[in-house]
Symmetry: C2
Subunit: 733 residues, 2 copies
Amino acid sequence: MQRSTPKLQQERTYTTNAGRVEVGVGLPYDCKPGPHPDCPGSLRMSSVGDGAGGDGGSTASQGKTPVVKAFRGLEGVGSGWTKASCPCCVAERVEPLVLLQLGEQVQPETKKWLIRLIGASVKEGGAALLSHPGEEDDGDILVISAPRCTLLLAAEELGLSKAYHNGDIAAFSYQDRGNFRDSDDMQKFMTLAERQYVVKYELDGLRAQRDLRVPGFSDGFTLHRRDNIWQKLREAGVIVDMFPLNNEDKLKALTKAWYLGNQLAQPLDMIHEYFGGTFAFYFSFLDFYTWSLLPPAVLGLILSYFSGAVQKEALDSISGSKVTVADEDADSPSVSGHVIQAVFSMLWSTVVMEMWKRRSTSLSYRWGTLHLAERFAEPRPGYHGDMGVNPVTGRVEPLFPDWQRQLRMALVSLPVVGLFLGLVVLGMLGFYWGEAQAQLLHRDWDSLLSTVLLYAPSVLHIVYTNVLGTVYRHVALSLTEFENHREESAYDNHLTGKVLVFTFFNYFAVLFHIAFYKQDVPLLRKRLASLLVVTQLVNQVTEVVVPFLVDRFLSAPNRTKRDDDPQEDKFRNQGSLPAFPGLFAEYIELLVQFGYLSLFSCVYPLAAVLLLINNLTEIRSDAFRICQLFRKPFSAPVAGMGVWQTAFEVLSFVSVISNCWLLLLSPRLRELCQEGGLSTRNILVLAILMEHVLILIKMALAFLIPDEPDWIRIKRERIEFKSMQALGQVSEL
Amino acid sequence: MQRSTPKLQQERTYTTNAGRVEVGVGLPYDCKPGPHPDCPGSLRMSSVGDGAGGDGGSTASQGKTPVVKAFRGLEGVGSGWTKASCPCCVAERVEPLVLLQLGEQVQPETKKWLIRLIGASVKEGGAALLSHPGEEDDGDILVISAPRCTLLLAAEELGLSKAYHNGDIAAFSYQDRGNFRDSDDMQKFMTLAERQYVVKYELDGLRAQRDLRVPGFSDGFTLHRRDNIWQKLREAGVIVDMFPLNNEDKLKALTKAWYLGNQLAQPLDMIHEYFGGTFAFYFSFLDFYTWSLLPPAVLGLILSYFSGAVQKEALDSISGSKVTVADEDADSPSVSGHVIQAVFSMLWSTVVMEMWKRRSTSLSYRWGTLHLAERFAEPRPGYHGDMGVNPVTGRVEPLFPDWQRQLRMALVSLPVVGLFLGLVVLGMLGFYWGEAQAQLLHRDWDSLLSTVLLYAPSVLHIVYTNVLGTVYRHVALSLTEFENHREESAYDNHLTGKVLVFTFFNYFAVLFHIAFYKQDVPLLRKRLASLLVVTQLVNQVTEVVVPFLVDRFLSAPNRTKRDDDPQEDKFRNQGSLPAFPGLFAEYIELLVQFGYLSLFSCVYPLAAVLLLINNLTEIRSDAFRICQLFRKPFSAPVAGMGVWQTAFEVLSFVSVISNCWLLLLSPRLRELCQEGGLSTRNILVLAILMEHVLILIKMALAFLIPDEPDWIRIKRERIEFKSMQALGQVSEL
């Protein structure tokens, strides 16, 4: 039940001494919290785009510029670390945040240039970060950290909210930093994930202020004005990899609180602190969703108990025994149960999603991401367009009209996605047709060849589906790139949305075909039961067991861990772990579960029970995976689940249609109605009426349950009121 | 085509000289635009609620207080007007804005007290307005005006946006008033309707700072602390009436630009200036909606031309001739026409409403009401609750928890409204049953009495409907009062919503009964045609002709207008006109039209043509009504049509269901399908599928067409960005 913020008072940070990284007890940054007029970072809010900034560190060919001197000549203070370019950020201890893996062929002079670029102030076109060259000056790694001013300015630019001195959470403002709690102690002020993300954010956003040649290369490699430097360096193989470093003590504390004990609740705040918003929201949702499975699970058990036949039936279908005519009869006592289950699950799904929205808003407020200012920050690196003045912020940046993006989405993306969905359906129909043909052929011909041919449709369909999926992923990526979204989150959401629709369609096309076209409820029930059991098992195995075995027996021997290893080797070792594959697979698994449950709930009442059991183990295995089996991933501050929220909500509405239809198919129900003197037509009209009423109720529920708790609404309105007043006071911005 | 802001440079305002009101050329208020430290109005933003404000003008029993002296002794400056309590607001000319009709029995000392109350500063519990006692000090009228500071402060409190010196429209801030255009000339800065509304707003918001006795009454009438003074005075009969005064020159200019010429467009800005937001939005919508009827009208004409039969049919049904079997046959060529018409009208209604939203936002921006701050202003007078500190604004005011309001709405309002809708249905069913019984009785019995009894059901139903409607209006009022909304607009919207649902149900219950229960398309068509023609005609007559005749022959003789009349008599004459009954009837007429058109369009393709013709005359007659036949109404600043927007949108979605159903009923279509080998069941499934797809398309359209034009989005985001920056700069508000 440990859900409070971890109070690790004695943060361990790393300092370097004579080129070797060692572990020591960290001290808070020793600079004063007051505003420092000399801090070059404070110039960042002015228009960065005009290349008129002074003769910066990026003009490398000039040799020993003043900037170079500034950090090569002062090794004593930062002990190997470059010195912060602003005096108020000089710290005794520097915390290594991110490891940069350079290409093997990278020349020492390129590395030197890179160090200078990373350390130069923003005004000079640098990233205003700290770097450490590792054990050897010409080695192939670079450890990067961020000084206080850079972190604070980025926090403002990203729109992070932090605790104000009066206890409220308020959007951080660099100018007002003195009034924010702990704003002089970065370890407490920002989470580890945020600090690491800031490093990535700064590096990814680097743009060349003028044309310049990268030293250490034959003249082929030059950067042009406004080029995204990091992208170019990656393309040129200068930077091979970049990943956030683990903090072993924190990780140990986290694993203990998370999956090693017998806790029922997850340490969400610790997850947020260590892994960042994306992961914290995923695990929060997983947690919330798992507990919300309790009511349908209980109802399912009760209904199954009262109609023992259903239970037997379910066992039958799991064990794969033939569903006989008896099944049709066993259905009879559970007609009312069917209806109860269906109506319950339809309302349940809406209530759950609405309650989650509230929870999500609370979490977002607590984690300071409710008012992210992504719209007002620099556009994402891949964004392109004609250079111009942003009419909102007044900064010079690439501009791309919204209507053009919408046009591209409507005229290109939509038809292409539709085409691929059509191809999925086509594949499925082809498979059924092929199977029928093969059966026919086999009956007529009955030879060894025809027996082999019986398997051909399945094999072809699997190959087809896989090829289609791979092609689609690439197409989705290009399409989203082509749509040219300004914000990272918009890009992510559109990409995820595209892949998600396709994947979901792939999963459910067959089930929908059985339910709506074949109208074969027993087959549907059989399919559903086996899917629920088999896919969950397969998932758990592929997600955890395989990576674990790979890690233990293939990778680990190359990665002997000893406590007396130099810190640098420990860092290198982290790089040998595979990169985390992202949360898409995790979310889609939940979505498919939710789909089974809400779309076809009335067919298989025990689904919720199975899913509840599965998810309780899933939480732990997911936690183990992310903590141990993969490299630590970057995580941007986010305000919620993004497009997944929408996906779950849409599904919950589609479920009404599907459930009403399935109830209509229930043969007993139809008999009952016909006994009551209703014609087929009237039953259908009745079902439509019921569907419309249920959708209306769901919409009313969604409307009536406020998306944010009252206390957050009040805080939000207070902020709006204050901004309104502030705007009146500060004229002429 | 005059749509630009009227530039009446030489505003005519009224000054009073020795008690007699005369017309003179107005001068701008002569006070400086700079901040005036002495202005008591500037204290208003501090918490008004604490009764600790000095010994104010409200303590009337003390006789000659300093305040009384201040305005009774300086008649020379304001020539009969009370003097503004803040020096910067003293003006040469005062514009009479609102007329207060006092009860006949009101004593001169009560009137004196009232004048003092109206003139006292806000800090002293007064309204900080100017008043003029009319010709005689003890007469029964009071003319009221507002000084500059009061107007400006109210503009900020209401959240009005005005033109900034750089041309942008920005939320007005009193502190920053020097930077707003024309902020020293109230006649240009605020519209006449706004100035008049401010007077009403200030007076309605008056609350007693302490228990006090109203002089001129026997001791029975006292005001208690926090009582709403205006409400109490109305209840006690001190104030009989309050209405804004017409400005004859402006009215003349407006009528000329509006309905006297042959203009196709309406002078919307002038309407906004003179009559205020509510009316400007109504006429804008009427205008927009009328022009958007062109496409369906043209389509209807084309379809009718190509299937001449439909035309004949329509004429038949208008002329009332029996719809014979030939009608069924005449239906045959128009099946595809039916489908085209239905699908077109379904998509048309969504596109129109989305485009209107954009237009509405643009208008709202242009009229400075896009960022109304009603939430942050004082609650409406009728709002009650425990006194407490508003957590958002920090002011002391009555508080009433939201959840309690929602509970009341869900558990009381919703069931009661449902009950009344049920009573409507019951009445209709009773009418059908009664008619059948009467027919039966007549056939069996056939006497004079039975012939009379034939009419009984109709008469009873009409009486029942009317009684029900009257009762419902009262119930709706009490329910909305009981819900205790904080904002005037929320109160209005909920009240309007309730009445609107009932009225709409009343109108359409019979049509839905015919369409969905009786499933009798020819009867529906007949009913629709007669309703379209008859109700429009009746409406025009009752709305315009009757009031015109009443005005001309009954009221006018008592109201002889002569140019040399004293100004006061002219003002009094305005009071003899009937009060404007509000826009409810106008909007519901449009909504019912829209309902006929979208719900049953495929049945009667010529509906759009008839409605287009009707609306072109409707615009003029409505304009004539409001300008000439009624007293000028108050109008609060509003950001749009409020609940009517929702009503139109909901209707547009319901229309999909209704149209799909009607298409299904089309006998030819069914025959066609059966020829194509489709069973009844499959046709139904097909119709459901079509319905769902159409609703999906409508939702996609509504989602894809942005609710605000791009240029407004940019301006809005710029304001948000500026507020964010401002909030960071102004810490510790």
